[in-house]
């Protein structure tokens, strides 16, 4: 029996068991491979998506548990102003090395700035500590988030 999930504004019927994690439904049932597999136990953040705007580890979220909530993924990140600003900041600061974790980093950073438009350096560190970057591009990720926070956060806080 298909499981119905709303993803990036579209209703999708997924023909898979209800206990299948969203990550594997996205990647291999729907062909949306932007969301990455890193650890499978919610410890690295590579698979981060938004569920009703909250940063969520899709490797630990069964599709049957999503219900009416709205999922959004890296493929739709550029359609949001904060997401787009972060994507641009990532490119401007040449943040990445291998880039594999960056979809998750961007999704988590977007959720952070959506809930806290002007975070302190410490708040950035704490919000991002669940996302491992094996190449350790942390300094550039910090800088990119802070640069958007100054622009976007400054604007929305006025």
């Amino acid at each position: 029996m298909a499981v119905r999930v709303k993803i990036n504004g579209e209703t999708r019927d997924i023909d898979a068991p209800e206990d299948m994690p969203l990550l594997w439904a996205l990647r291999q049932e729907l062909g949306m491979v932007g969301t990455k597999f890193g650890c499978g136990i919610g410890m690295c953040g590579a698979c981060t998506v938004h569920v009703d705007g909250q940063a969520t580890r899709s490797c630990a979220l069964p599709i049957g548990a999503i219900g009416d909530k709205e999922v959004s993924t890296i493929e739709a990140l550029g359609q949001t102003p904060v997401g787009q600003a972060l994507q641009e900041a990532w490119l401007e600061g040449d943040v990445m090395q291998c880039g594999y974790c960056q979809a998750g980093q961007l999704m988590n950073a977007t959720a952070l700035l959506n809930s806290n438009p002007n975070p302190s350096d410490e708040e950035i560190d704490n919000a991002m500590r669940g996302n491992i970057c094996r190449c350790a591009c942390y300094k550039r990720i910090q800088t990119a988030i802070a640069s958007v926070a100054r622009k976007e956060g400054g604007a929305t806080n006025v």
Binding site: E29, G38, L91, M96, I132, C135, A136, Q142
Partner: protein, 740 residues
């Protein structure tokens, strides 16, 4: 730019001078030579391929091949920069394509050893310059003028005297018909004319990555593709007795399950069971129903605790199995030494844990040929290994190189390629993607070798280092020219100590070992730079002072030909330059904040010289806090892409700090105890120190940055902790109970 009679040329490499390097089955590297230079014009009005790397299209856009595998080191951007510079191309109209595995066409395709920069600095530039010369020749013929009267602007040939101009696109099809120049004869730019080299350029694939577009190996999607999980024994060296494949086949979504017999070589194929399903999660889940029986043989008695006990017993016994190098009269020198410093150092096994778990996609065609989409650092080696396993000639094995979510040396081995080939062989016509779980990755790695060193230093009445003795306890590893558990006879400061003995004892093990970023150096820098810090302290001086004394008056060593191309000898002036630079950057010798201390480390590896200073403190709970790291690096005359270069150094520093603070793989019952990121804890954002990196430019060809910045940060950190607490860290990872 314009050509002049006095212009630069690269070394006379000749037509057969491209070093072709490929990993060969069973480990090791083979070298051959090739010079891919031939031009062909496509159909009338179509693109023109001026050589294997450069295609110029009629609309004046240019496609450049990035030949080497991209693991995050930035090579797919950097090698084309070298070509584009000498082609004098407009970077904004260039697109870069990943080259497939093709040794004959592209020469060596390898991501490892920080070799790409030194190996390609001249050949890639000559490749670009040769194509530019062909474009100039074509314009000269078209306009009936002398080539010497022509110059180029980005992607345009200009005849200044007449004001005539033609784009590369307009000239390309004619250029493809002129004689291909000898690469050694082509004129290279003066460094002062560089427009691309030295300019920060963002990663060429980064726009796709921030949009989540498919680009990594595991993103490969083929029509009708199925997914495979591979169950193998957690105990190294085990043999498969039986598995209940029928039970696995009864699980939801499972298409097939079958046993696979290994070939006895863990770098290729170990015994295991493949489970195939419509979704990898279903395949992986079905592994638990296999009820696999293993013959673990003699290896279950092996553990890290036993290895440590054995190694310490060997060191205490004091009679190494064999000498690595001996000179002078070591025993007499110690007998007459004014003082002796003695210490034991050790470091653990480490895993690579690239973010993208091991994976590979394969399609066995009905005609018996096979096609693979491989995230491999040595795709040519993987091609050979798959061909050998399947009994095919390499031309029947097509290997597409995909971007990789990190390598760090793990993907120098191609076991996942042979595994997926063994699986695909069972299902011709159906594409299959093999994916490893993180647990598979952590527990089936080729580990950075653990090691133990008993060191003694003898000093004369003037405090001069006159004798040095190291008993290194390491491993018996079969095969391969490259042994990551070996120590060089010239390990610094070997060449500058009169009486020297480096000796070793090798222990048997089934733990597979391999190269981890800055292999050997990532461990030996800690051992030797920490021990030298002890030696310096015993004389009331600091480590940089001791290092500068050791190399005082020392001559530069000559360059040699290494197994991977030119191998520069040690240049003491470069040690001095980076050391003095970093001391200056860090205000070494000046007071630091209360409760803080500085430590210094230096290392020369992978042709790069780095000196680093770490500022450290301890929290109330004795947790190590790194506040600042200053690094001065000399990798030659140019930093080709400052963006990528700096990123490598910053990442290496944090990587090294993570290793020092919290990483160890432990063996228990012949298997790895750790399994995922909860018990193999990589550095996370909050531990990021302030990073200060500066370059020391020297008159040497540029060399790579994937590795050399990592080794010195570890001893710089442990030496800082000694300065802070008076306690010596002699074993990694750092045990903070030492500071209680």
């Amino acid at each position: 730019m314009s050509d002049t009679a006095t212009a630069n040329r690269g070394p006379a490499l000749g037509r057969r001078a491209f070093l072709k390097v490929s990993a060969i089955a069973g480990g090791g590297l083979a070298i051959a030579a090739t010079m891919p230079m031939a031009a062909k014009a496509m159909a009338q009005g179509g693109p023109a391929e001026l050589n294997a790397f450069i295609t110029i299209h009629p609309d004046n856009t240019i496609t450049i091949i990035g030949k080497n595998p991209e693991i995050g080191q930035g090579i797919k951007t950097m090698l084309p920069m070298l070509i584009a510079e000498e082609l004098d191309a407009d970077w904004d109209t260039i697109s870069i394509q990943q080259g497939d595995t093709d040794a004959a066409k592209y020469g060596p395709q390898l991501a490892g050893g920080s070799f790409a920069t030194p190996m390609n600095w001249f050949p890639m530039r000559q490749t670009g310059a040769a194509a530019r010369q062909m474009l100039l020749q074509a314009a000269a013929l078209r306009w009936g003028v002398d080539v010497a009267s022509l110059s180029t602007e980005p992607s345009v040939v200009v005849h200044e005297a007449s004001g005539r101009r033609a784009t590369y696109g307009e000239l390309a099809s004619e250029a493809a018909t002129v004689a291909v120049p000898d690469p050694a004869s082509v004129v290279l730019k003066d460094a002062g004319d560089f427009r691309i080299i030295g300019t920060p350029i963002g990663g060429i694939d980064s726009p796709k990555i921030v949009r989540g577009e498919p680009i990594f190996g595991v993103d490969t999607q083929l029509e009708g593709m199925v997914y495979a999980a591979f169950e193998r024994s957690p105990v190294f060296g085990a043999k498969l007795i039986s598995a209940d494949t029928e039970a696995a086949k009864a699980q939801p979504g499972v298409i097939d399950a079958f046993t696979i017999e290994g070939n006895g070589n863990p770098t290729e194929l170990v015994d295991g069971v493949a489970v195939i399903a419509s979704n990898w999660w279903l395949a992986n889940k079905a592994r638990s129903s296999l009820n696999v029986q293993w013959d673990n043989g003699e290896w279950t008695g092996h553990s890290s605790a036993k290895y440590d006990e054995d190694a310490r017993r060997f060191m205490a016994a004091g009679s190494p199995q064999e000498n690595i190098t001996v000179k002078g009269d070591v025993d007499a020198a110690f007998a007459s030494a004014e003082s002796v410093v003695e210490a034991e150092y050790s470091y653990p096994f480490l895993a690579h844990v690239a973010m993208e778990p091991m994976n590979c996609t394969a399609l066995m065609h009905e005609d018996g040929s096979i096609e693979l989409w491989a995230p491999s650092q040595t795709p040519q080696g993987g091609q050979g290994a798959v061909a050998q396993y399947l009994g095919l000639t390499p031309d029947k094995v097509t290997v597409h190189i995909t971007r990789m979510g990190g390598g760090f040396g793990r993907r120098l081995n191609n076991d996942y390629m042979v595994q997926v080939a063994a699986i695909a062989k069972q299902m011709p016509g159906t594409p299959v993607q093999l994916i490893w779980s993180r647990e598979d990755d952590v527990r089936s790695d080729f580990y950075r070798p653990a090691g133990w060193h008993k060191l003694r230093a003898g000093l004369d009445a003037d405090g001069k280092l006159v004798a040095l003795d190291d008993h290194f306890v390491t491993w018996d590893i079969n095969g391969g020219q490259f042994n990551p558990a070996a120590m060089s006879a010239t390990e610094f400061p070997a060449n500058y100590v009169e009486n020297l003995r480096y000796a070793q004892t090798k222990m048997p093990t089934a733990v597979p070992m391999g190269a981890l970023r800055a292999p050997t150096s990532n461990a030996l820098a800690f051992v030797f730079q920490s021990f030298l810090d002890e030696v310096a302290s015993s004389q009331g001086k600091d480590l940089p002072t001791l290092l500068l004394e050791i190399v005082e008056g020392v001559e530069a060593e000559p360059d040699t030909q290494g197994f991977m191309g030119p191998q520069p000898g040690f240049k003491p002036a470069r040690l001095r330059a980076v050391t003095n630079k970093v001391l200056d950057m860090a205000n070494w010798g000046q007071p630091v904040a209360g409760g803080h201390a500085l430590g210094f480390g230096y290392y020369w590896s992978h042709q790069g010289y780095f000196a680093e200073v770490v500022e450290v403190s301890l929290s109330d709970r004795n947790q190590v806090q790194v506040h600042n790291v200053w690094a001065a690096g000399d990798v030659g005359s140019h930093i080709i892409n400052p963006y990528g270069a700096l990123n490598q150094v910053e990442g290496s520093i944090i990587d090294g700090i993570g290793q020092a603070l919290q990483l160890a793989v432990e063996i228990e019952g012949g298997a790895v105890k750790q399994s995922n990121f909860h018990n193999y804890q990589l550095p996370r954002m909050p531990m990021t120190p302030k990073l200060h990196v500066e370059w020391v430019k020297s008159d040497h060809s540029p060399t790579g940055l994937g590795e050399p910045a990592l080794p010195p940060v570890i001893p710089a950190l442990t030496n800082a902790l000694h300065a802070l607490t008076g306690k010596r860290v002699r074993s990694l990872p750092i045990d903070t109970s030492l500071f209680a």
